[in-house]
């Protein structure tokens, strides 16, 4: 594959956007979506590298990452619902009972 660098740069940009999103956004669900973006940026890196190196390890890794992301989503949304039931909000500024 000729254009490995292109894929790596794109995934690095996606990863950075996700990181910035986590640090700046206030809504817990949006933050979680940014985390998912980071994970998918990593997936892109894995797939591109796997193709470039000609071995399958990276692609297998991606399957596991996707599975794990799904499990995380299930647990995370449940936690957000529990939080919403008590606070009527999922804004991280309302996560303030204990000082950060």
């Amino acid at each position: 594959m000729e254009n490995l660098n292109g894929y790596l740069i794109i995934s690095a940009i996606l990863f950075s956007i996700g990181t910035i999103g986590v640090l700046t956004r206030k809504n817990a669900i949006v933050i979680f979506m940014c985390v998912e973006m980071m994970l998918n940026a990593v997936n892109l890196t894995f797939v591109a590298l796997s193709r470039h190196l000609g071995n399958l390890d990276g692609q297998v890794f991606v399957f596991f990452v996707m599975t794990v992301a799904a499990a995380e989503a299930a647990v995370g949304l449940a936690l957000m619902i529990a939080f919403y039931n008590n606070k009527e909000s999922i804004d991280v500024d309302d996560i303030n009972l204990m000082k950060w």
Partner: protein, 485 residues
């Protein structure tokens, strides 16, 4: 692309994991048929299961079996850490029931979740492939997010769960990116093969992809073991989570983070040791100092122990920075002793606490020594051990960690460590001052010490004292455990 062949699979290395997973699923089923006031039986069952798993793990001592085409290994290193996880889970199960009943959240799912966490930690310790380590880490983390937010009617517990979840996922992203770049630089995810490829590089520190991967993995692990400056989540999560789970989180998962990090950095990347030990040096100093200084001004005792647990991660990082036999054996020794002394201290906190997580301040210990002399002596032993005074396990652990650093020439690191340790005596002794030298502000009549609680305190006292008096008892195992890496 090479052909996919299915290798012969030997299930022996993951026998304890299989056993605990099956047990957890069976417990989930049994839970449906057990009425709400009898959930303690699930706790007893899981404690028996954990002891049985301990026997299975111990039976594997001395062996070296690789399986799943080299992605899981049974060696002494993994066995030692598995014992630490089982100890912390067993003690946490013992103290859970009384607390959960008092707080009105004794749902039976607690025990299977603890067992799943242990399975994840075990996979982290025995994984020899980045993939296995990642999976173990996530099995552990996903179960822990739920455990942190387990008391779902309590807003503080909600916050703890949500915070832990968001920051945990965030750190996973970094860890994963590090793994991807390491894979890109070496072409494999198997730790032994990474070591071989990196060993053949003429100048591995000039390989930007590899160094970036290493640093990102380091960041991810620093989050998991709560090393400063990635420790911001720790005090809040530890304060908000149900107390038994705080005890568990600060002992087991922290040790698991060290297990995986030690294996990756010492086995796969020893040729980069000069680079990563520099970063770890800074992390260790920051972690110890931030943890101890912030702990000095805490009144809430859970929060104080949370900062103290950050400081303890810093001490262990001193041994990691050294990276030699004494230092790494010290980490293993310290993590085991820390499980005993820390969970023991949390057991006493649960006993002193009242419904709704109240009575959790240092001041509430006033007069405890007069009213409950036996428990107060136990608490003093835990606090002495945490402060690192002889003849407790905490002292011997710190002694080995710091002497490991001195052997490698990190004199200043050891000095900073000892100074920190001296500063920490203040906030541990403050609790004892309240226990013995202040008059009780209220009666301690509400306290009832159940049998599991008493057992937990007794085991913890033994575990905090015996390794301090006869260090070779544990240390010889720790030294054998690090021989293979």
């Amino acid at each position: 692309m090479d052909m996919i062949t299915i290798p012969a699979v030997n299930f022996t290395p993951i026998l304890p994991e299989i056993f605990l997973s099956v047990l957890a699923m069976v417990l989930l089923l049994i839970n449906v048929f057990i009425p709400g006031d009898r959930k303690a039986y699930l706790g007893y069952l899981s404690f028996v299961g954990i002891v049985a798993a301990g026997v299975l793990v111990a039976a594997g001592w001395g062996g070296h079996i690789e399986s799943f085409s080299g992605s899981v290994v049974l060696d002494n290193f993994a066995t030692f850490f598995k014992m630490i996880f089982l100890v912390s889970a067993g003690l946490a199960v013992l103290i859970s029931d009384q607390y959960m009943e008092r707080e009105g959240c004794n749902h039976g799912e607690l025990y299977p979740l603890i067992l799943f966490t242990v399975v994840g930690m075990m996979l982290m310790a025995s994984g020899t492939d980045l993939m296995t380590i990642f999976l173990g880490l996530e099995v552990m983390s996903v179960a822990l997010y739920v455990l942190a937010g387990f008391n779902r009617k309590n807003p503080k517990s909600n916050e703890a769960g949500l915070k832990y979840f968001l920051l945990g996922c965030f750190s996973t992203g970094f860890l994963l990116y590090g793994m991807a770049l390491t894979y890109g630089a070496t072409g494999t995810t198997r730790i032994a093969k990474i070591a071989a490829v990196v060993g053949q590089m003429s100048l591995p520190s000039a390989n930007i992809m590899l160094v970036a991967g290493m640093l990102l993995m380091l960041t991810g692990f620093a989050f998991k073991i709560a090393a400063a400056p990635f420790h911001m989540w720790t005090p809040d999560v530890y304060e908000g989570a149900p107390t038994p789970m705080t005890a568990f989180m600060s002992a087991g998962p922290k040790a698991a983070g060290f297990a995986a990090a030690l294996r990756i950095f010492l086995v796969a990347l020893p040729t980069l040791q000069v680079e990563w030990s520099q970063v770890l040096w800074v992390l260790a100093v920051l972690t110890m100092t931030v943890g101890n200084i912030t702990a000095l001004r805490q009144d809430n005792i859970k929060r104080m122990l949370a900062y103290s647990s950050i400081a303890h991660a810093g001490y262990a990082l001193v041994g990691f920075t050294a990276g030699n036999g004494t230092g790494t054996a010290g980490i293993l020794f310290y993590m085991l002793s820390y499980a005993f002394m820390n969970i023991g201290a949390f057991a006493i906190i649960i006993l002193v606490g009242k419904k709704g997580e109240s009575n959790g301040n240092v001041q509430d210990f006033a007069g405890f020594g007069v009213k409950h002399p036996v428990l107060a002596v136990a608490m003093s032993i835990f606090l002495f051990s945490l402060a690192g005074m002889p003849p407790t396990a905490g002292f011997i652990g710190k002694f080995y960690l710091f002497s490991g650093a001195i052997q490698q020439g990190y004199i200043w690191l050891a000095i900073i460590g000892v100074l920190n340790s001296a500063a920490s005596v203040y906030y541990y002794l403050r609790v004892m001052v309240f226990m013995y030298m202040k008059d009780p502000t209220e009666e301690f009549d509400w306290m009832q010490v159940t049998a599991p609680m008493a057992l937990c305190v007794a085991i913890s006292v033994i575990g905090s004292l015996i390794p301090g008096i006869i260090p070779s008892l544990i240390l010889q195992f720790a030294q054998q455990a690090i021989k293979l890496i």
